[in-house]
Amino acid sequence: MTGMELNLVDLAGGFVAFFLTLFVLSYALGDNALFRLAIHLFIGVSAGFVLASAFYSVLWPQLLRPIALGTIDERLAVFIPLLLTLLLTAKVSPRFSMIGSPVVAFLVGVGAATVVGGAIVGTLFPQALASMSLLDVTATIQSGGDIGAALLNGALVLFGLIATLASFQFGTRITHLPSIWPLWKLVYWIGRFFIAITFGVIYAGVLTASLTALVERFQFIIQFLRSFISPGL
């Protein structure tokens, strides 16, 4: 590619990006045809790109290429995946969909086992240990942290955890322990307070990410317009 061709491609890409950005921002005025045009265009391009990416990233290098250009071992290695793939394509027809069910069952089973195993090993146990270690003074001393702050942090996290779990109780009124009920209600409201803070933080992150995207788009528009007004900038 020459520099002139690149500039034309960038210019065309810039115009397309500019107008599509305006189409999307037009949603601030309400649902309109420009917004829908941009959305449909994005969906179509994404689907086509995913198909091309899947072919060039998965089917060709891992299935077709070993069969076509691979050795005997590579061809034998892809025989079972090829068979499963053919069976899975039977799901397209309602008459022969039962043929692809074992493949789907295999995929679901393997995926569920993977997710559950990873959640236990990668999240549940480590997070449980981390929650317990917040009040480990020895570990805090060994790490050189402030013991008081660590204990306060640990106590706050523990109380927040208990309160949050307590707020998810859908139980009935504790009649056999009437004296505990006011305390239980207090813990319930504290838990709801922690949950509200968590949702607020998540909303702030979403708002921050959206504002960042908005700023980036407007800076692109400004930069694109500046390139026409003062190409030297």
């Binding site: 790109f49 990668g122 981390a130 960042t212 400004i222």
Partner: protein
């Protein structure tokens, strides 16, 4: 002084009284004084209004003349003379037409035909007939008492009848219940003084206790005896079988010529046909159905009547049991009909389904003929009430008077079908309004009831089909109809305003944000200072800084294009540092768009970086399979992604030689905006990383979710960068001005305005809510 009883109050009055002195009811009907009958004698006067038939006249005059010619007055017994005298003056002779059982007419009524099926046979004996009579104890007692108390002079025939003690054997025979008809009748051993001929007859009971047979036998003996007497021939009975009382009378009885049978198709009995006048024959034949089986009554004055008289007297006593005063001789002639009525009564009782009926106040025929509704017209029972002064003697004290007239209760009348009631009313009115103009029924009202089917002259009452509802119900029905009609009418939707309040607010907020961002981007206002570097960014910088030069660094590009600005701002700073350290970057992605996103980032970074910098990188492409693919990639990266996006052997690159697993990496950097993707990398890949640190470059929205993996002890994620602020901090830390620095001012301005708008909105919402509550409270107070 002869007395007659008032038909209304029943008290005795003088015979010549026209009006009851007690109740002032007319005793003698007005029509008795008609000119046509004014010249008639006393005998005819009692039958005025009837156009007295000839047979009755003959019955009263001709036999008398004949008897006077045949014998002197002393030859007749006293009772017979009294009978004749009484019969002439008797007002009870209300029905002179006595049906004959020997007429032989096949068109006789059913009730009478059932009573005597074979009417041609003459009566043989009276005993079997009377044996079928159902005993009536009260009546028997009355008439017995009355007979005992009767102190009037008795005739010879009466004395002989008493000698027979007919009441005894008759009562014995009557005591046989009707049900005994199925059994053999017991011999009447308790009748000690029965006549021989009667005893003989009793010795041979009928083979079957059939009423008809008994009637037949009774007719036989009666016919034999009467024929023998009337014809003067030799009696079929032996002399020893003739009762004494009867034999004694034989000499004093003049044989009487048997009347010629008149059979002109009028169904009249022979004896009646002989005496009836031709003038009234049509009327009688047209209006009267004569029974067939009634035994023939011989003419008065014949000795053959003695036995009948005795029986008739008994019957009369039975039927007249309700009388307070004993029956007198003047009622004897009417008693002849009494035993006939009793026979009819018995016959009617033998019928299977006998309906109870309410009798009128008439005495004899109404009571004795129960099935009068079909066979016997009403005039038979009404004649004595309306025409005969002596009728009250039977009418007021009859058994019918003991039975109260049935009256339907009001609630039962309400249940009667309206149509039937209307028809009945029409029939009753029609039948009661018609008066007979000629014949023996002349002057009688409603004598012959017409059939309902032919007498219904008027239309049935018409009933309105219109609903009868109240005004309130009408109003409710109208409201209900309007409600239903309103449901079917389409309602126009309210017109939507061109600009809604929600849209307006959204547009205003958008315009404000757009203006702030544009102004901030153009002017650089507000010129905010760079943020302070946090400990997290410092730790991340230390981690990256610790990467050995020329080592392999893997970057997972798992963010969507929409979050590229935020994520790439931090990733750009890291790439700059890693490029400074001469690391080889390996790009992978678990998203289909990851490979092209990686290429876009590298191109963009190379454009934004100084031209002297060069970047060594490999794009391995897409890792299919999600979490499973990540696990497989972590276990065997070279086997899962053997080729790069260009189709070349990825692991044959000089920078990647000797690479077997992820543990050969210096650091693994995961750039994503999706917390699930970040968690998948942590859960599936982290356990297989070994000592290789894991660093997260996240969007601001996913950083709080992944933060626990970073804050945990020991840390699962060694470094964490979240949002544009972390990128700016990292840029500050490494001492360069990246793309994140140009975002900072507009981002801060827009974020500040957004926070301000949120606060303004919260305040307005709170104020409006308070205003609404105050208004609602004011309305509530106003209502109170």
């Amino acid at each position: 002084v002869a007395e007659i009883r008032c038909p209304m109050c029943g008290k005795p009055n003088s015979a010549d009284a026209e009006v009851c002195r007690y109740c002032e009811a007319r005793i003698k009907p007005l029509w008795m004084d008609s000119p046509a009958n004014a010249t008639s004698n006393d005998e005819d006067a009692s039958f005025d209004g009837f156009d007295l038939p000839d047979w009755l006249k003959a019955n009263s005059s001709e036999p008398t003349a004949k008897s006077e010619q045949a014998s002197d007055g002393t030859s007749q017994p006293d009772w017979l003379r009294g009978l004749r005298a009484d019969s002439e003056n008797s007002a009870d002779f209300e029905e002179p037409v006595v049906p004959s059982g020997r007429s032989g007419d096949e068109e006789a009524p059913d009730w009478l035909r059932g009573l005597l099926p074979d009417t041609d046979q003459p009566p043989a004996s009276e005993v079997p007939l009377m044996a079928d009579f159902e005993p009536v104890e009260e009546v028997d007692g009355d008439w017995l008492q009355r007979i005992d108390a009767h102190e009037q002079p008795k005739s010879a025939a009466e004395e002989q009848a008493e000698e027979l003690e007919a009441p005894d054997w008759l009562s014995v025979s009557r005591q046989e219940p009707l049900e005994s008809a199925e059994q053999a009748p017991e011999p009447l051993e308790e009748a000690p003084k029965l006549p021989d001929w009667l005893s003989k007859l009793k010795e041979t009971p009928p083979p079957e206790p059939d009423l008809f047979d008994q009637n037949e036998s009774s007719q036989d003996w009666f016919a034999d005896s009467s024929d023998a007497v009337l014809s003067g021939s030799e009696s079929s009975y032996p002399a020893e079988n003739i009762p004494d009382w009867f034999a004694g009378m034989d000499e004093s009885i003049q044989p009487m010529p048997e009347p010629e049978p008149v059979d002109d198709g009028m169904n009249l009995p022979d004896w009646l046909a002989g005496v009836i006048s031709p003038a009234i024959k049509p009327a009688i034949s047209a209006e009267i159905d004569f029974p067939e089986t009634t035994p023939e009554i011989p003419p008065a004055g014949l000795p053959a009547m003695d036995l009948d008289e005795a029986i008739i007297e008994v019957g009369a006593a039975d039927l007249g049991a309700g009388l307070k005063e004993p029956a007198e001789k003047e009622d004897l002639f009417s008693s002849d009909y009494a035993w006939l009525d009793e026979m009819q009564l018995e016959a009617s009782q033998n019928q299977a389904a006998q309906d109870e009926y309410a009798t009128e106040e008439s005495f004899d025929l109404d009571e004795s003929v129960p099935d009068q509704g079909d066979a016997l017209p009403d005039w038979l029972s009404r004649v004595p009430e309306s025409s005969s002064p002596a009728a009250p003697a039977f009418a007021e004290e009859g058994p019918a008077e003991e039975l109260p007239v049935a009256e339907l209760p009001y609630w039962l009348k309400a249940m009667r079908p309206v149509a039937a009631y209307g028809v009945e009313s029409v029939v009753e009115r029609t039948s009661s309004d018609q008066a007979e103009k000629s014949g023996p029924l002349a002057g009688l009202m409603g004598a012959l009831p017409a059939e309902p089917d032919i007498s219904q002259g008027s239309k049935p009452p018409a009933y309105s089909s219109k609903l009868q509802i109240t005004d309130t119900q009408k109003v409710h029905a109208q409201l209900f109809a309007e409600l239903i009609q309103a449901e079917g009418e389409p309602k126009s939707l309210p017109s939507e305003p061109l600009i809604k309040s929600g849209s307006l607010i959204r547009i205003m907020i958008a315009l404000i944000l757009f203006a702030v961002v544009i102004l901030s981007s153009l002017t650089g206002f507000p010129a905010l200072s760079q943020p302070a570097v946090s400990a997290d960014i410092l730790a991340a910088h230390q981690l990256v800084a610790g990467v050995p030069p020329g080592s392999r660094v893997m970057i997972a590009v798992d963010y969507a294009p929409g979050f590229s600005a935020e994520v790439e701002a931090g990733l750009s700073a890291l790439t700059t540092q890693l490029e400074d350290q001469g690391c080889h970057l390996i790009f992978v992605s678990s998203l289909p768009a990851g490979p092209i996103q990686s290429a876009h980032f590298v191109n963009w970074w190379m454009k934004a970086s100084p031209p002297q910098q060069s970047l060594h990188w490999t794009n391995l492409g897409y890792i299919p399979g999600g979490a499973t693919g990540l696990l497989a990639f972590a276990q065997n990266p070279t086997g899962v992604l053997p080729y790069d996006v260009n189709g070349n052997q990825a692991w044959s690159d000089p920078y990647l030689l000797g690479f077997r697993s992820l543990t050969d990496l210096s650091i693994l950097i995961v750039a994503t905006e999706n917390p699930d993707t970040a968690r998948a990398w942590v859960e599936q890949v982290l356990p297989l990383l070994g000592r290789t640190p894991l660093m997260m470059v996240l969007s601001a929205q996913s950083a709080p979710v992944i933060r626990p993996y970073y804050d945990s002890y020991p840390r699962q994620v060694q470094a964490l960068m979240g949002g544009i602020s972390a990128a700016v901090e990292y840029d500050v830390l490494i001492g360069q001005t990246g793309i994140s620095t140009g975002f900072w001012s507009p981002f801060t301005a827009a974020l500040s305005v957004t926070v301000l708008l949120i606060l303004i909105g919260a305040v307005l919402n709170f104020g409006l809510a308070a205003l609404a509550r105050s208004r609602s409270s004011v309305r509530g107070e106003g209502k109170k």
